[in-house]
Symmetry: C2
Subunit: 134 residues, 2 copies
């Protein structure tokens, strides 16, 4: 399999070289090997892994969360992997539910706001300053 250096890897995944090394220090992305010189070498698996890390980050997972997700693949026990995945799924579902609550509240406020007139007739302002956004 073709291997490439850290610069290539970083560039293909759209992250900084320092970030790659930072992830390595934190146990998220070991190189597949090293040259005699010490230069890190990576392959497509690492590239995919790095992209996975980035996507997970965007979605608000911490590096620790992600380490957990990735370490699933080190597990021996398929049943444990499944359980861990279910736990993550539950997290995500809860976050979605919370965001939906906020979304619905915001939608109602927007719908109720005339978009003109006196400020104290605007339900959005009232919600922020006097009530909770629900």
């Amino acid at each position: 399999m073709a291997t490439f250096g850290i610069g290539q890897l970083a560039q293909r995944a759209g992250v900084a070289i320092d970030t790659v090394r930072y992830y390595e220090r934190n146990g998220l992305l070991p190189p597949s090997g090293r040259l005699a010189s010490g230069y890190r070498r990576y392959g497509d698996i690492e590239l995919k892994r790095l992209r996975f890390i980035r996507r997970a980050k965007v979605l608000g997972f911490t590096l620790e969360d992600i380490r957990g997700l990735l370490s699933l693949s080190d597990e021996q026990n398929v049943a444990e992997v499944r359980t861990a995945a279910q736990g993550k799924l539950a997290d995500i579902e809860q976050r979605i539910a919370e965001l939906e609550r906020v979304r619905d509240g915001l939608r109602r406020l927007i719908a109720a706001c005339p978009g003109h007139g006196r400020a104290d007739a605007c339900p959005i302002l009232n919600a922020l300053t006097q009530e909770e956004t629900r």
Copy 2:
């Protein structure tokens, strides 16, 4: 209206006193007034505002986002308020959509995983190490 001190406020909202002062420094939560001694005084409006800040934080808004949300109430123009609220709504909807994508991928993997047997038969592991989680 009854007013109370920073300790009361913090305790009722379930945050640390230092956090309240930190929010003040960052323009999120000015006290309604001060005693001659310099002691901050707060009322129910501040309490609600603080609770709002906390809830928004839990949902992943940065303090800057929240400052934006709160500053809506300083706007003169009701139309602008409405527009800003719509922008926030769009953000939230996008985050929900991304999380749903992840949720669906994870659900499919879990459904496809037998929960036992050889590790390389587990689609969850394969997805993490070889494909992207979708």
